[in-house]
């Protein structure tokens, strides 16, 4: 509920944000296409490339589809089990832990996974104790799926769980009273509540998996495991064929979009209803065997996520941490990473705020086609940015801002913008539900008191949103910190970020240093995510 002027402001803000995002995506791509045409590097694929393209497209969809299916299929029962058991020792710790994998650089996570699941990993050593000598290999599709589930099961669970936790306690009481359980409870009560968030989580996971690169190559075992993103990277990085890179990117975006559109079909509006408050105790939850199966499911999932992270910590402790911590280079890299992270997180938070405000405004009367478009494209902007390959954007930005005098500025700007775009989908998912709640709670009062316009933003909306904004901000900051991203393509010794330093150490035999840096980087990121989580909880909006 906004005043006419507020609607105008919200919609103009949304259009401005959309324009900014559109430009940030389209201009570098246009520059790349123009450059490709100029340089005579045709967009076409060579002979025999069609077959290759078909193969990698198939594999991209296969691995992303299976990864999404597995992650979500496991996240649904896990979220149900967690919702059924609202108070057990370590529950909050576990849900905090689930925020962490996202902030880990993929290579660090891959090495952690290998410590557990590799040929010499804990799992195989455990099997050897039981006399099973043939180590099972994670290299191949198994490894890719394992890694993707490691990243995305916790993410999906965190997205799905709150929709169950937000249901009014009377539902669970009625369910208990009527004797609804098992499949019926799932089909009639839980699934309708989860459906929208499951679709949203599946879409996000699918995009993340479709564009996954390092994990796919390191764990894929060979070129049979090649995704479109690898081909894009090769086209730009090794063959330097911008036209081909753009063509491949277009295929990637179009394909993923088509599948997302299909996924969106199962999303339906949910009506969480009002609650009288009170705990989310679950009188319908059963004892006995169900307690055991819930405990096993929750325990195994916790181990699955915690194991590789413990391995990262263990490997890092071997390093000479005091030396690393007194190295000015480490501090320079940390400061640079934080600087880049702060700016891109600010950008991501600001853009997300504008977009959700516009969506809120457009969705309220929801009559004209133009408003529908604004609402839909604001929502889509929060997802699509994930699909544009950062290497292509980075190259375009670099090309646009020029080398020469732009040695410092161009890559810096590119990294900041790209990090901000990549964080958008996550920040929007944090802000939007909180914004909806704040609007529902405060709108009438603000209007009745005549607190409108800028005053309303300052006095009502900002304070109400302060903590979710902080949560989203820190989330974006953490994502940016862990990202090697665009810098990998054109690099610059002037911009030394933490992941970059880590790769540099790894690239010159300094494996122990790299492990130590991974620990420090992971630790920083984890601390930030935990901080965000804590701030988010103080908000009272327990979004898990």
């Amino acid at each position: 509920m906004l005043t006419r002027a507020e609607h105008r402001a919200a919609r103009s803000g949304g259009v401005a944000a959309l324009l900014a995002i559109g430009l940030a995506l389209a201009v570098p791509i246009a520059v790349m296409v123009a450059y490709g045409a100029d340089a005579g590097l045709g967009a076409g694929l060579g002979p025999g490339q069609g077959d290759y393209l078909w193969r990698i497209t198939r594999f991209t969809l296969l691995q992303a589809g299976l990864s999404t299916l597995l992650s979500v299929a496991l996240a649904v029962p896990l979220a149900r089990a967690l919702a059924r058991r609202p108070a057990f020792f370590g529950r909050r710790g576990l849900i905090n832990l689930f925020a962490l994998p996202l902030g880990l650089p993929p290579l660090v996570a891959a090495l952690g996974l290998i410590e557990i699941w590799g040929r010499n990993g804990v799992a195989n050593k455990g099997l050897a104790l039981f006399g099973i000598e043939t180590p099972f290999s994670i290299y191949g599709l198994t490894g890719i799926l394992l890694a993707h589930v490691f990243f995305n099961l916790p993410l999906a669970t965190r997205l799905i769980l709150p929709t169950l936790e937000r249901l009014p306690p009377e539902y669970w009481k009625t369910a208990a009273n009527l004797g609804l359980k098992g499949w019926t409870l799932f089909r009639l009560i839980e699934w309708p509540a989860m459906r929208k968030s499951v679709a949203g989580a599946a879409g996000l996971v699918f995009m993340l998996c479709a564009t996954s690169f390092t994990l796919v190559l390191v764990l894929g075992g060979g070129p049979a495991a090649t995704t479109l993103e690898v081909a894009i990277y090769q086209a730009l990085r090794f063959d330097f064929a911008p036209g081909r890179a753009v063509l491949l990117s277009t295929i990637q975006v179009a394909l993923t979009l088509t599948i997302m559109a299909a996924l969106k079909l199962i999303a339906a509006p949910a009506d969480p209803g009002d609650t009288k408050g009170g705990g989310s105790a679950r009188p319908d939850a059963q004892g006995g065997f169900q307690v055991l199966s819930d405990a096993v499911l929750i325990g195994l999932s916790g181990l699955f996520v915690a194991g590789p992270m413990a391995a990262v910590i263990g490997a890092g402790l071997v390093a000479d941490l005091p030396r690393l911590l007194t190295d000015p280079l480490f501090w320079r890299a940390t400061a640079t990473s934080l600087g880049i992270g702060l700016v891109s997180a600010t950008l991501a938070t600001a853009l997300s705020s504008l977009l959700i405000r516009a969506r809120h405004s457009a969705g309220e009367p929801a009559d004209t086609a133009a408003l529908g478009l604004l609402s839909a494209s604001s929502g889509a902007a929060g997802s699509l940015t994930l699909l544009a390959p950062p290497v292509v954007l980075g190259a375009g930005w670099f090309l646009m801002l020029g080398g020469g005098a732009g040695q410092l500025f161009a890559p810096l700007a590119a990294i900041i913008v790209i990090n901000a775009l990549m964080a958008l989908p996550f920040v929007m998912r944090v802000l939007e539900p909180a914004h909806r709640t704040a609007m529902a709670r405060n709108s009438r009062l603000a209007l009745s008191l005549g607190v409108t316009g800028f005053n309303r933003i300052r006095q009502v909306d900002l304070p109400a949103m302060a903590l979710p904004l902080t949560t989203g901000f820190v989330f974006a900051l953490a994502l940016s910190l862990g990202d090697l991203g665009a810098i990998a393509l054109f690099g610059s010794d002037r911009i030394m970020t933490l992941p970059w330093l880590l790769y540099q150490k790894l690239g010159s035999y300094r494996t122990d240093d790299a492990a130590g840096l991974a620990l420090l980087l992971g630790g920083t990121t984890m601390a930030l995510i935990l901080l965000a989580d804590r701030l988010g909880r103080r908000d009272g909006n327990d979004r898990a």
Binding site: G222, S353, I495
Partner: protein, 336 residues
């Protein structure tokens, strides 16, 4: 909008950390190179000090990820590059680099250079070289493969980690190595070898990381890799396997840009590059073999290294012409 004050604040926080103070000097020579060359522990800082003492100028390194990225950066910048010199391409990239038309002949006497196969070029001057080799962990392998044939046909349970020729220089090196030895039978050799390949990583770093963490007992790297472990870590656990067919050669080169803002200074640097003042820092900082005389004896570790009697090297032209087809062949064989 909501937090607009944060943007300037964050920019102010970040700015001093990334901006570097410009050194006041008459002339500045800017050289593009790869990241590890200018890393704190790389040869860059030491060479910079030595050259600046000689020229009374300011040497400014700009580090880019690796040789391939270096070439891409040049293509992106075209004639606007601020650099006068590019140091860090390898022979496989020379044809492509020349095709950009951005490089100029150096016109220098390269008599001091001595690299295997007597490689020489009118545009690019070698500054170091190395051989690709299979490095093995002597704790888990007692009889390493003695030839490429042994590697291809050996025990499939003893795994090797290699790099992807589509994205990595050593990966391309192995591709060319197998092509040199097997010729038209390369596809069959790859198909057989693929059973022994644990995984194919996008770059050298990932595979060497897997190797040192014990995931695989062998990795594709350089003959000089054991020198690092000997000199810095004082362990001879990681050793290079000498292959009787010979080893594939990698020669790293530097070239002068046609639009060099400081062409004379750049030529002075290229001359300096061929002297011990530069070459002394190559072995223990770049972990490659010097391409010209050094004034200090190499560390003992280097004497223990595999030094191939026979080496392979395709000409830049051959690589440029056939790389795409050979990668296609590799993809077919490895995907089967």
């Amino acid at each position: 909008m909501r937090k607009s004050w944060l943007i300037p604040a964050a920019l102010m926080a970040a700015a001093p950390l990334i901006a570097q103070p410009a050194t006041a000097a008459d002339k500045t020579l800017t050289v593009y190179t790869y990241e590890s060359f200018v890393a704190e522990w790389g040869p860059g800082p030491k060479i910079e000090a030595a050259f600046e003492a000689e020229c009374g100028c300011d040497l400014n390194w700009v580090g880019v990820a690796d040789g391939v990225a270096l070439l891409n950066r040049l293509k992106l910048e075209g004639e606007n590059a601020v650099a006068s010199l590019v140091l860090g391409l390898d022979t496989n990239l020379i044809a492509e680099a020349k095709a950009t038309g951005l490089f100029a002949a150096h016109g220098l006497d390269t008599g001091a250079i001595s690299v295997p196969r007597d490689f020489s070029d009118d545009v690019f001057i070698p500054y170091d070289y190395g051989y690709f080799a299979v490095i093995y962990d002597s704790d888990s392998i007692t009889t390493p493969p003695a030839s490429l044939k042994d590697l291809v046909e050996g025990n499939a349970d003893e795994k090797i980690v290699i790099q992807d020729p589509r994205t990595s220089t050593p990966g391309l090196g192995l591709l060319l190595w197998i092509k040199s030895v097997y010729g038209d039978d390369a596809a069959a050799a790859w198909e057989q070898l693929s059973g022994r390949v644990l995984t194919v990583t996008p770059g050298w770093s990932e595979s060497y990381g897997l190797f040192t963490s014990g995931e695989a007992p062998m990795v594709l790297s350089y003959t000089t890799s054991p020198a690092y472990h000997l000199v810095v870590e004082e362990t001879d656990r990681y050793r290079a396997a000498e292959f009787e067919e010979g080893h594939y050669l990698q020669i790293e080169v530097a070239g002068l840009l046609a639009n060099a803002p400081e062409a004379d200074l750049a030529r002075q640097f290229l001359d300096f590059m061929m002297t011990p003042g530069f070459q002394n820092h190559i072995p223990t900082h770049n972990w490659m073999l010097p391409a010209a005389a050094v004034s200090e004896p190499l560390p003992e570790a280097f004497e223990t290294l595999v030094s191939p009697e026979k080496s392979f090297l395709f000409t830049p032209g051959e690589v440029a012409q056939s790389r795409a087809a050979w990668i296609e062949e590799w993809l077919g064989a490895m995907s089967r």
